[in-house]
Subunit: 698 residues, 2 copies
């Protein structure tokens, strides 16, 4: 029995002296860099010229293996479908952002092409999106005085100067967002969005969707009322402006909205017609433009786009500097980047999982960053992966990034030859397209699911939703982000800890709260720390230990022992510690020592042992008091306690560890994982009279 | 053997049907409220009238048990010592904040008295502090145009109007900080400062201390140069202004600085004279005031305070509204509150631990909040616990909050009778007092300790320190907070997970990375999740499981099995989950099922089981696939695998759990913690040929 011994010992522990400190950390860093470098399909040194080229132009990979016969038709179909969808959508979103409609078309052209060359998601539908457009519109409007008076950004009339400043600022935001994107991708900081929980995000986007939808109602009613950014203000303004009602706009807008919703319902009900919903917007555009042309409606008070410059975008690099209001501009850009990054990566992730390929997050983020650079260079505002268009792209069967490239070619065709046609597109139709589009973003079903499963998450959803509705989109987002951070800090600050007891005379120790039958030894407290011990949680662990000690003392006294002699910390679930963690253990050791309590550690991980060695903690606690198993430590304590009782020398306990149950640093063969074997070799029963069946009852 | 059986089963699991969802969560909330209410020394219903009074006036507690003979002398001594210290300190700090010196004295009077009545720390030395003063000074100066030209806030001359606006704003910040403090205390959100690690804080305060010290050099050199807030700018300005050098100021300032540092050194070396350092500032004041009077120096170019209004502060409630620049004012107040809260609670905590009494955090925070309300009502800027004065208070032997009250009485005496004297206090002496004071805040020894123990923490210290030095205090603090948040998010986003293997034929399963001898069963993957499964970390867990599965598949193939049949998730260290966690497990189950892999869960905690029930997850996975122990699950999988091999029916595995090793929801007596017993009853060896000695080598 138990012939194999090396398994239970720390394999990485060779020398005994304190190790060099940051030299080793630097080694760790070097290893990490090497591992990361090697984590690709090939190590750098095996790189062929093709691999090097593909590193900078990732499209080479899918182009080389492109199966023309199998894929081309699907990519064409998907690309054209999304192209039909993105033309009216991007123009409408540009309107939300407060820039000329053509900015949306520019955003649907070059950034898409660049992303197709550099991005790693095969189905992501890049372009302008609704929520970001609203954020940019509200943010820039607050910075440009007078811009709230502009009625039609395509034809600002007397406000041409103000609109020009406004446009410059929007391009600058695109540039700043591009810089941030690229920085986050290059520094591998993509994880920063993970603190934003699903509840926070859906709450916020649901609220934003309602605001976006409600903000378009004025175009359907034909009013000329100021833009507002909270629900009650929008309703107030709509009610106050009811004198401006125009029945023609309203009939046309409602008809278009009904048409779009009808198509949506049909495509959901009839599986064969699922492509109808995607073609709805372009069909609505066609119908309403024909109506305008046939009925000469634009001269009878139907508001249309009016002006779209023909041709490809001209360079706007000269607009990047100087950036006025740098602080607010950086803030706005950071918020836009955060929302974009989150939306885009979560869609790309879902699509990659569905289609069974691996996504390279950092390439993905850098790809979006460079796409945004291209946009900022050529007159487009920020772009990211759109939920609705990615879904259509995927369901239409897009196989590679070629689909996105084809979409951008469709947009280019419109820019070159069809701008005159879209100049007749009525605002009411754009409004109907937006309203029909954002309806899918209001996720009440998520809210209901959350209410059923997790009340806290539902509360978070509700706060984010209501704050966005009634405090405006910026404060709503701030509240959502603050709440998410609060929860992450809360989770970090209050880690789980458990008092352990011995289960049924085995060598297994489990949480006494979960296993009320688990036996405690009076005078010995066993606590498991269930998290990395670091700055955010040491305070709570300290508080918890104080409380546990008080309980353990009560339990010991009830069993005839007048104090807690040993406190065992099981470090099994502690993957690492920081300097605060080491400091915490040191203070703990000192304060226990002062009160005659011995601190014992069990099963520390290699990283934790290294840190404890460097900070001198192991020397202070003593290698004799670090065990591999909780059971060894407990048996050892029990022996000491029994000896004390037998000798009557409670004041000077014998701190000698027993030969039979050896601490980890002493003998190689002693630490013994088999509980039955340890028991049969004289581990002895657990203080029979006192402890049997007793529990802390914490 | 093993006669006791109920211990291992879930004691809280009675019914089998799905439980009502939020009703139960509300019950949980109710329990929490009740537990919290009961967590005091007495439950509310046992409250005597005294307890009720003490709830609103906590000083009654210590007043009732006050031991006059033992404590009064110590409290008097400590109170007067701190009083002597706080008078010059508070006047100097007011200068840093850019308000008249008397504001500092006011801050050392009423807030102290109020804190003594309401606070829970017996030794905390409340009053104006250096770092906050700098934050307020820089923040308000940016908001009040023209204020950078004010040379002496006590006697602003032509800038009286600007100084008046400035003062109003400072009082408003005090009011906002008081509101935030009280809110944080009442809502029990004190934990929010825990994300600020020791490294971040000491890095920031060290940098701020250097900036504060350097900003005072101009008073010692006698220059009249603009205030700057980054090190290189300060040095630049000092070099550029060298023509304004005044040797009298310089000699006097350096003499005072030498005197103070000398006293500090003596008090450190000679233990009996430790009180000297505390008395240094007041002695320096006395000497320099005598020098000014004797030499009539103020008329010969020594800059003195000039004007301190006599008497108690007048009410300033009328200054609270209206608040202009609300956004930046709220931001500044939040930052000030955060720094104050952190400084104060960490000192109070350390003092309570040293003196062996319990601190009530929320009472503490509310106490500081109300003290700040009192300050904002009566002409004082924000106050909090000071590190240096708390240390002196403690070392002078303060026993109760009475010491703080006595300090405030000393300050009152000065306000009533000695203002004329302190009007002659030279700026160079105040500068020397500040420089000698902040020298202790520059913690290079912490930096060295961090460098030795934990490289990441050292890097954080360095970034916070250098950013504060060279980017200014606001951006430095922003960088520090950002960095700390980044680390907390990082820690939350990348939880530890481990592949488990069976150690030495026991029933113990451990991390195969730490125990390379631990045995894996080909076709069965056991993974332990070492953190609560919630929104911040599900993505990482998902990625990890994909990687583990690929490794497990390689290992299975190497052992003649062509796929992974079972994936066991050990949930022992998972205290709770949120809705994202449930969703993650559900998706996992579905994707595994689609690929013919069975998901098995072991040892979920009661909270996790409840959540899984509510979200319908248990019904989907099936109760048969949830076990108490990893070993039971593994043995069960092995049987199925062996049956498959015997029957040759790999395509249709027999999903029936074995009778011998029962899943937790089925039989009451089957789950069996004793490994030896399970083995003797036919658990069988672990796939001997294939698995012995093999390891994943992850």
């Amino acid at each position: 029995m138990a012939t194999k011994k090396e398994g239970i010992l720390f394999p990485w522990h060779h020398g005994t002296g304190a190790q060099p400190s940051y030299v080793e950390e630097l080694d760790g860093l070097k290893n990490w860099v090497e591992k990361t470098r090697d984590s690709g399909s090939k190590a750098f040194r095996e790189f062929t010229p093709f691999d090097w080229a593909a590193l900078f132009l990732p499209c080479l990979r899918w182009l080389r293996t492109y199966r023309v016969k199998e894929w081309l038709l699907w990519d064409l179909l998907a690309g054209v479908s999304v192209g039909f969808m993105i033309i009216p959508q991007s123009m409408s979103y540009a309107n939300i952002a407060g820039v000329p409609s053509v900015y949306g078309l520019y955003g649907a052209f070059l950034p898409l092409a660049v992303y197709a060359l550099l991005g790693s998601s095969k189905q992501l539908g890049v372009g302008p999106v609704a929520v970001t457009s609203l954020l940019i519109g509200n943010g820039i409007r607050a910075m440009v005085p007078g811009s709230e008076n502009i009625d039609n950004p395509n034809n600002p009339g007397e406000f041409a100067g103000v609109q020009d400043i406004y446009n410059h600022k929007v391009i600058q935001v695109a540039f700043l967002v591009a810089c941030m994107y690229t920085g986050v991708g290059a520094l591998r900081l993509g994880f920063i969005v993970r603190f934003l929980s699903h509840s926070v995000i859906t709450g916020f986007t649901s609220g934003a969707a309602v605001i976006i939808g409600m903000s378009q109602v004025r175009y359907i009613l034909g009013y000329k009322v100021p833009r507002m950014d909270s629900l009650h203000e929008i309703i107030e303004v709509l009610v106050a402006g009811r004198a401006g009602f125009k029945w023609k706009e309203c009939v046309m807008g409602l008809a278009m909205l009904g048409f779009l919703i009808g198509l949506k319902v049909i495509s959901k009900r009839v599986k064969k017609l699922h492509w109808l919903a995607a073609l709805g917007p372009i069909m609505a555009c066609a119908i309403s433009i024909i109506a305008v042309v046939a009925g000469k409606l634009d001269r009878r008070g139907i508001k249309v786009v009016e002006k779209i410059p023909q041709g490809l975008p001209s360079p706007t690099i000269g607009w990047w500097a100087p950036v006025n209001n740098l602080g607010p501009m950086l803030g706005l850009s950071a918020v836009v980047m955060l929302v974009d990054l989150l939306e885009s990566t979560s869609i790309a992730r879902a699509l990659a999982r569905k289609n069974g390929y691996e996504l390279s997050y950092n390439q993905e983020i850098v790809g979006l960053g460079i796409a945004n650079f291209a946009g900022a260079m050529f007159n487009s505002y920020t772009t990211t992966g759109s939920f609705s268009r990615s879904a259509v792209n995927n369901s239409s069967g897009a196989k590679t990034q070629l689909a996105g490239f084809i979409t951008s070619m469709v947009v280019m065709f419109v820019l070159l030859f069809l701008t005159k046609v879209f100049e007749l597109l009525p605002y009411n139709t754009m409004a109907a397209i937006i309203i029909a589009g954002v309806m899918g973003l209001v996720e009440f079903d998520t809210a209901i699911y959350l209410m059923k499963t997790h009340l806290r998450d539902f509360a978070v959803w509700l706060v984010a939703f209501l704050a966005t509705l009634f405090l405006g989109i910026e404060l709503g987002l701030a509240a959502a982000i603050g709440l998410a951070l609060l929860i992450v800090i809360f989770e970090s600050a209050f880690p789980h800890t458990a008092v352990l007891g011995r289960v049924d005379r085995t060598t297994v120790y489990r949480n006494v709260e979960q296993y009320p039958g688990a036996e405690m030894v009076p005078g010995v407290l066993v606590v498991r720390l269930d998290a990395p011990v670091y700055f955010a949680n040491v305070q709570w662990m300290e508080d918890k230990l104080v409380a546990y000690e008080a309980e353990a003392l009560r339990f010991a006294r009830a069993n005839g022992i007048d104090r807690v002699e040993y406190i065992i910390l099981d470090l099994t679930p502690v993957p690492h510690m920081d300097s605060m963690g080491a400091h915490f253990l040191e203070e703990l050791h000192q304060s226990y020592k002062a009160r005659g309590i011995q601190l014992i550690l069990t099963n520390p991980s290699p990283r934790v042992v290294r840190l404890m060695e460097r900070s001198g903690l192991i020397a202070k606690i003593g290698r004799d008091w670090i065990f591999v198993r909780v059971h060894d430590a407990v048996v050892n304590c029990q022996r000491s306690l029994m000896q004390m009782e037998a000798g009557g020398s409670l004041a000077t306990p014998t701190w000698q560890p027993m030969g039979m149950v050896s601490p980890v640093f002493q003998s190689e063969g002693g630490a013994e994982p088999n509980g039955a074997a340890a028991g049969s070799r004289g581990g002895g029963p657990v203080a029979p009279g006192a402890a049997a069946g007793a529990s802390l009852g914490l």
